[in-house]
Symmetry: C2
Subunit: 364 residues, 2 copies
């Protein structure tokens, strides 16, 4: 279980691999759509499967608050509750505690925070985060960590002194052997701290290593730099997971730098705002110029039988089907990109693929 | 085209038939879900098909205002615009002009009204209603009529003097021969007026007859009475369409009285409010008693793989998937009921079927 086999490698260092989970093999590199509250917004599980989704992420913070992780456990776990029978991943709740709760207080033992739903007070510790994730029952679970402001050296350095002991407490607390606990390398935008964090974690041989604390305000160039620093440090034979990343450009730049797993709410969030990915940018279907446009969003869109004019009408009329169709389009767009990159890796032409693809976007 | 063939008749007088349309045969009795703004709320066309939907209704008033019937025509008509390739029906816009517009003024020529979207002023006449419906291009289109308060004899009587000439103007205005224009019998809850209206319309041999002005405030017993009066009057060999009706009890009572076609927003409206049909009533999935209920909504629900607990969670969390799943459940519930009635008619046991089914509901 949780074996990671690299099946092809490209000259760039990008990898095509298979990660074995209790809910089936996961081919990498992979993009995971996010099902925050045990549902990838506006999509049915069977549609997700048809769109080629293989890994789905769900949020510990949200599910702990509602409906409660004990309830999810009693309903047979997250897979059974939301009827997703493929691989799943839960985060630790740490990131949301800091980004969603308007009141939170961190100490060396854990974090006390206020629910964004009803204002009630709660507390997460490494132990409780693992206990909640064991109740939820995803295949991949994440270490409880602090996500510090990436540019503040002293803050980030001190934060590692909290995150590293917390990682060991997570490891200690973990009881289920059908879940892979991934460590999360922190260290902001600083090479010495990133390397220190990675080396500390590698001493304990985790089944996977996440790269945390990125896509939170640093520049694209800084993100690429951190990935370049970590590439030679992290172990070859373990999957690498870049958390919260999901623009087409970031996915390509991540895969080029050896990343295997990504997740992001972007495809469903853009859909909620009427926006659709295309190669080179995003189009907002609310725009009046699509009013009489008979073309599909893109020629190979997952919803190519529907015209831009129809989707424009749905969005302008606040019809749910508009949200549904854009979600399907955007999720498929990113999954299709990952599929194309896997083929390019197998054919050892990822750099050419990336150069062509990125030429449609503004430079880094 | 538009031939109606009765393939089986039950001792109650209920009919099982086939109505031929340019988009395929329509087996009756049939329930049509409503796609107000060219979308049956929260459902994909392919899901509708899977749920067994055969006829879909859309609203002239809404589509005229947004996106505009000329746009729909230019996009290849409603079938192509919304990607529904089965039979479709549009209403005349008359009912919505009176029920949705806060300002409207009727005269012998037509109705002037204020858009509920932007307050702009518009005018419908029999001629413009037909022209709009020809732009939309449904298989069945409806005569432009007034829907009067059903209990006011003098009002209803005078209203017929408007509706009947309007019907002849609709007939005169109609140009397309691939659309069936249905007449709409009015007359409130009064036998003499209903019969007068039906006889007037039958002089002009329409391909179908609707029964309008019901389900607007009269009692269930009054509705049944009107259907009983009209049954021997309306021609046997033409489909009968009871407009705006869609509770399970009303569908059964309608079919028992010879009605062939029904439509209603109820399944999707209930879904929006968290409510689901079951045999005997409705359950509100918001209710806390479903919080840990592992059962499906009903054993043969269209979404039986999902638990009540999960749907409760989705509704409480305002997740669109809750709305999607309840819409699918409710639409399938009514379509399944129609399928069961068609079989019962063919096996000449509709009365027994109806007695058993209705025994789960309060008496009429």
């Amino acid at each position: 279980m949780f074996e990671f086999k690299i099946t092809a490698k490209d000259d760039t260092g990008a990898r095509n691999g298979i990660f074995q989970t209790p809910h089936g093999p996961l081919e990498t590199p992979v993009f995971a759509p996010v099902g925050t509250a045990a549902t990838v917004k506006a999509t049915q599980p069977r549609d997700l499967k048809e769109l080629g989704a293989s890994l789905v992420l769900s949020n510990t913070y949200h599910l702990y608050l509602r409906p409660g992780d004990d309830l999810v456990r009693d309903m047979g776990g997250l897979h059974n509750f939301m009827r997703w029978d493929g691989p799943m991943l839960t985060d630790s709740g740490g990131f949301q505690v800091f980004s969603l709760s308007d009141t939170n207080k961190i100490d060396d033992d854990g974090v006390t925070f206020k629910s964004h739903i009803d204002g009630s007070m709660h507390r997460f510790t490494p132990e409780s985060s693992i206990a909640i994730q064991e109740n939820l029952g995803a295949d991949i679970i994440m270490a409880f960590d602090e996500c510090p402001p990436p540019n503040e050296y002293d803050y980030v350095k001190n934060s590692l002194n909290r995150t590293h002991p917390w990682l060991l407490r997570c490891l200690e607390a973990k009881k289920r052997d059908d879940q892979a606990l991934f460590a999360i390398v922190q260290g902001g935008i600083f090479q010495d701290l990133r390397e220190e964090s990675a080396r500390f974690m590698m001493e304990h041989d985790f089944p996977g290593y996440a790269i945390g604390g990125l896509a939170v305000g640093e520049t694209k160039a800084q993100m690429a730099q951190v990935l370049d620093w970590l590439r030679p440090v992290l172990p070859e034979n373990k999957p690498r997971y870049l958390m919260g990343v999901g623009t087409p450009e970031d996915l390509i730049n991540g895969v080029l730098r050896g990343v295997d797993i990504f997740d992001c709410v972007l495809p469903t969030r853009l859909a909620r705002h009427g926006s659709a990915f295309y190669k080179g940018g995003r189009m907002n279907l609310k725009n009046a110029r699509f009013k009489r446009d008979e073309q599909p969003i893109t020629p190979n869109s997952a919803v190519k039988e529907f015209s831009r004019a129809y989707i424009h009408h749905l969005i302008k009329s606040n019809e749910i089907l508009g949200h549904i169709l854009l979600s399907m389009h955007n999720i498929r767009f990113l999954i299709n990109l990952m599929e194309e990159m896997r083929v390019a890796i197998r054919e050892n032409r990822l750099q050419a693929f990336a150069d062509e693809y990125l030429s449609h976007y503004p430079p880094l």
